[in-house]
Symmetry: C2
């Protein structure tokens, strides 16, 4: 999807946050910010928001020499998610429509980073968020497609959320599942290593997409991923970043996400904070 003007202030906010995670030096933070301002003044040269996101976060990496400023946050997210995992399983155990709630659990994993940043009680926060239903839910279509499906591709999003995805994967154990993640650390997005630490290796084939942007840019993906993307029976794309880069694709995709900003909310026609499980095909 097109880059919205609303994304520009948001990128500056993000780069400041990342620079503070990577260094305590004020002078470096200032230089990073000045470089980021230069970069966003050229925003029209980029194809989509995740592409700017990558460039912006590369500035932080280059100026500080730290290749993974979010490493600690990611480890903390996975650890917190593992602590909540038994509760997630018990929550699901009590539900009738297990597939609906397994999808909802996977979507809810997307709030983990916000919860960790803001230092709230994570379990309580997750409990509250879990009970909220989807604002859009194309589960009927999903269930129909599952009848004839043998393979599933999940395009992952954040580290930590990966543990929540395991709950969904365990519900769909009978499928041949591929879990695809970023090729390199970018923001708090999951890499192959993070997916393995999250226990996804036991239930899925974990692969790198070949793309290191915080959203899936197909033109940059490797052959292995593109093969699966083209031939797999069902695709679930997780999170806003992947939605931004894939929403105009003709390939049928189910988008599973929590809407975190007004740009995406307007595009989908829902409210910020809504949960979405949306099929992009035509009925």
């Amino acid at each position: 999807m097109e880059i919205s003007l609303d994304c520009l202030p948001c990128f500056l906010r993000q780069v400041l946050e990342a620079s503070r995670m990577a260094t305590d030096r004020d002078d470096l933070q200032r230089e990073i910010m000045e470089e980021a301002i230069k970069l966003i003044s050229d925003y029209q040269k980029f194809r989509c928001s995740p592409e700017i996101g990558r460039a912006i976060h590369n500035i932080v990496k280059n100026y500080t020499g730290i290749s993974d400023p979010y490493r600690e946050i990611k480890i903390k997210s996975i650890k917190s998610a593992e602590e909540v995992y038994p509760f997630l399983k018990h929550f699901l155990y009590r539900k009738q429509d297990k597939l609906y709630w397994a999808l909802k659990i996977a979507a809810t994993g997307n709030i983990l980073d916000l919860a960790i940043y803001s230092n709230v009680n994570i379990k309580k926060c997750i409990e509250e968020e879990l009970e909220k239903g989807f604002a859009i839910c194309d589960i009927k279509r999903f269930k129909e497609q599952l009848k004839n499906a043998r393979s599933l591709l999940i395009i992952g999003d954040n580290a930590g959320e990966t543990v929540f995805d395991r709950v969904l994967v365990e519900e769909l154990f009978y499928l041949d599942i591929t879990y695809a993640v970023r090729s390199e650390p970018i923001i708090n997005d999951a890499t192959v290593e993070d997916a393995y630490i999250s226990g996804l290796g036991r239930y899925t084939k974990v692969i790198s997409t070949g793309c290191n942007a915080p959203g899936l840019i197909l033109e940059e993906c490797n052959e292995e991923f593109l093969n699966i993307f083209t031939n797999v029976d069902i695709i679930i794309s997780k999170g806003q970043g992947n939605y931004e880069s894939l929403s105009d694709q003709k390939r049928e995709i189910f988008f599973l996400l929590k809407v975190k900003c007004l740009v995406i909310a307007r595009k989908i026609g829902v409210d910020v904070n809504d949960y979405i499980f949306k099929w992009n095909g035509l009925i």
Copy 2:
């Protein structure tokens, strides 16, 4: 106070909001945004945040030819405040410490713009906010100074909030009160016209500071204002913008505001959303 890096994304967000109020033309909004990005890349040339704020909002004025993009919002704010005014008076009537709550009412007026933007139930929102006390309250010092004071200068902030200030002014009717406002429309800040429409002319001498920034830059103020600023017995400065430009002043000032962002919260040592009535003098 120094310009924080956190202010830069916030300026971009503000200018986008203002450009959308002033024009529906996408191309103009893009040009304004590009010009604003250029401007914030030079942020170190500015003395304080209100100075950047003015420059940023001047871009909107120049590109759209609209000198007061917030005119409608301001009129709506004053109208909403007038509707709430009887409730404010009744609220105060029930309170023991009238001065404390009159100050609190004046501080609470600062949320009016947020309430109007977000389309919440304004009266309900005001009711809830009014009951919250101050996180810092130097009222003891204020009451002491009132014993020998004959004159008061209030440096105003937003239109609409002006009506709430009238409640405070009515409690301090026995003083010779000057109410000073921006020399020209800037964001939703009150001008002389707004102050008169808000009924302040009946109780105070309304003057222009001579400064058209969204915060008081003393070097730009007119002689009339500076004379009062120097010689008046007590000064109350309202809102974040005035705090940003005046917080390093040696002149004794009582700052009355709601803390709306993390930069100000950190500087004062309180939380975002806290209400403050803070004296800057030494004990």
